[in-house]
Symmetry: C2
Subunit: 324 residues, 2 copies
Amino acid sequence: MLDSVVEAFPCCCLMQFFAGMQNVSQHRWFQPEGAERLRVSAGNGASQAGWSLQIDRGVCVRSAGEDVRLRDEEAAPQSQPGLHRPLTSLPRLFLQLLNERLMGAEGTKMDDDFLKMEKSVEVLQALLVELLSRTTEFLQPHPGARAKLSVLNTMSRIRGHGGGAGYPQTESMLGDCMSHYGRELGPASEFGGALTEAGGALQEVAQARDALGVDIKRTFIDPLEQLQNTELKEIRFQLKKLNGRRLDFDYKRRRRGKVPAEEVQWAWDKFLLSKELAERSMFVLLQSDVDQLSRLAALVAAQLDFHRNAHRILLGLHGNLQAR
Amino acid sequence: MLDSVVEAFPCCCLMQFFAGMQNVSQHRWFQPEGAERLRVSAGNGASQAGWSLQIDRGVCVRSAGEDVRLRDEEAAPQSQPGLHRPLTSLPRLFLQLLNERLMGAEGTKMDDDFLKMEKSVEVLQALLVELLSRTTEFLQPHPGARAKLSVLNTMSRIRGHGGGAGYPQTESMLGDCMSHYGRELGPASEFGGALTEAGGALQEVAQARDALGVDIKRTFIDPLEQLQNTELKEIRFQLKKLNGRRLDFDYKRRRRGKVPAEEVQWAWDKFLLSKELAERSMFVLLQSDVDQLSRLAALVAAQLDFHRNAHRILLGLHGNLQAR
């Protein structure tokens, strides 16, 4: 049945699967058990990677480029050639995946708590991606100016200059315009004087907005990026590994007669170990809810500070304008 | 000497001059006095307008398209053909302008007060153009969203729908993101609840910013645009007219022997009348300093309101977040 599954599956999918697996494993070779001869012509991506693939019945065929035999890290030491030739890990996972996806075979189900945590982590991950981009847009709404600033900062980092340019706040540009024309109108003009004063105040508001940007970057954006790059990345890796071990276990369990019982037990133990690790990491992350909450509070506090400062500056200006 | 000036002047400039004058006058014909034959081949712009031009010594030549004779509105009624053939107004102004620009002839100077007022009006005009565009950028910093909104509003105006879409405030987008993922995380998550709450508060801030936009449009942008389109436009027109009358007077004064004394006097009176009108308009505009000042105060007051509201909203949110 497995053979027919392999045959029914389009080559491109097979290639995609192996292209995806390239990151995980450097194995170029495998020897499937009892598969009909099947030539997989390499697609673009695969030919770039420099390997082609042949599956023969019970025969190990060499690839076009390299001469490295696929090692089955998890192959039981007692497995003897001829008697039982276990599939190496990658095709095992692949065939099990095919079996589940195409033939509707039931894999080992995770418990509800685990699934709930996994879902929460997924949401958190998507949330962080969008939240960080929206916060950046909130701080630097003009996309052109944002891109320019990013390039300038990168260049000044490469050149070793510190600091770099700041984002051109709209308050600052409006204030510049007012100050410039206020000076042009001269001190004799009442309106000119008021413009100069308003321009100065708006520059102060722009400085407060700059401080808001720095504040939010330090207390909100940086910690959340850190979270993305460490804990969440680790959890993603663990979940991927867990899924691999589950597929491996399900494959072996399904072939319980042909695969030795100890090997099935061993796969189960490794699966459980992986599950526990992933569970623990997810639990720790989701328990750090309070940390995220405090970061959100920091974002709000920074905005609160900005509005307070802006209000204070503009209140003084408004009083002066009224007095004129 | 005048002839040589005309000859020395490149045709393209002549064409530009007449192309510019098209708006002012529909005259296609004129009869210059004592000019050498001069063929002006029509440039692109002029040929589109459908006229070509020939200047012959003392002969009135018909244009390619129309057969309308140039009337000289200001020609003295007592001028008799043969004895004195006065130039029609457009070429008069043109020749005087050439004379001043190329030959450095001195025209009638305006008094210092007038020049000062003229300068102030120029500054005010430039100020309004930049101030309005900067204020719009301040309210709607994303150029793409601004352009899209403008198109949408125009379309809904054409279709007769009222209202139209609002500008997508960054606070609103950030708030949407928070609310969405807050709901996804579910009520069980403390962080999710806080996110939903923060999202709601940011939506309120966005509404306050919308109100700021409406307020500034009503109390600052619209009145200043009105000022641009009425008083300033009128003053621009009057200054243009005044310059024409000055050129006319200077031309006639320079040719005092050939032009009757009454005509020179008449040109002087008209110039003075125009000057007085322009002066009065500029004076009224510059005296309305206080109006502009009150508009500036309105802009500041609107911002003040916004920051006060935003501060109030965020203060409540911050308290709730701290309580969690």
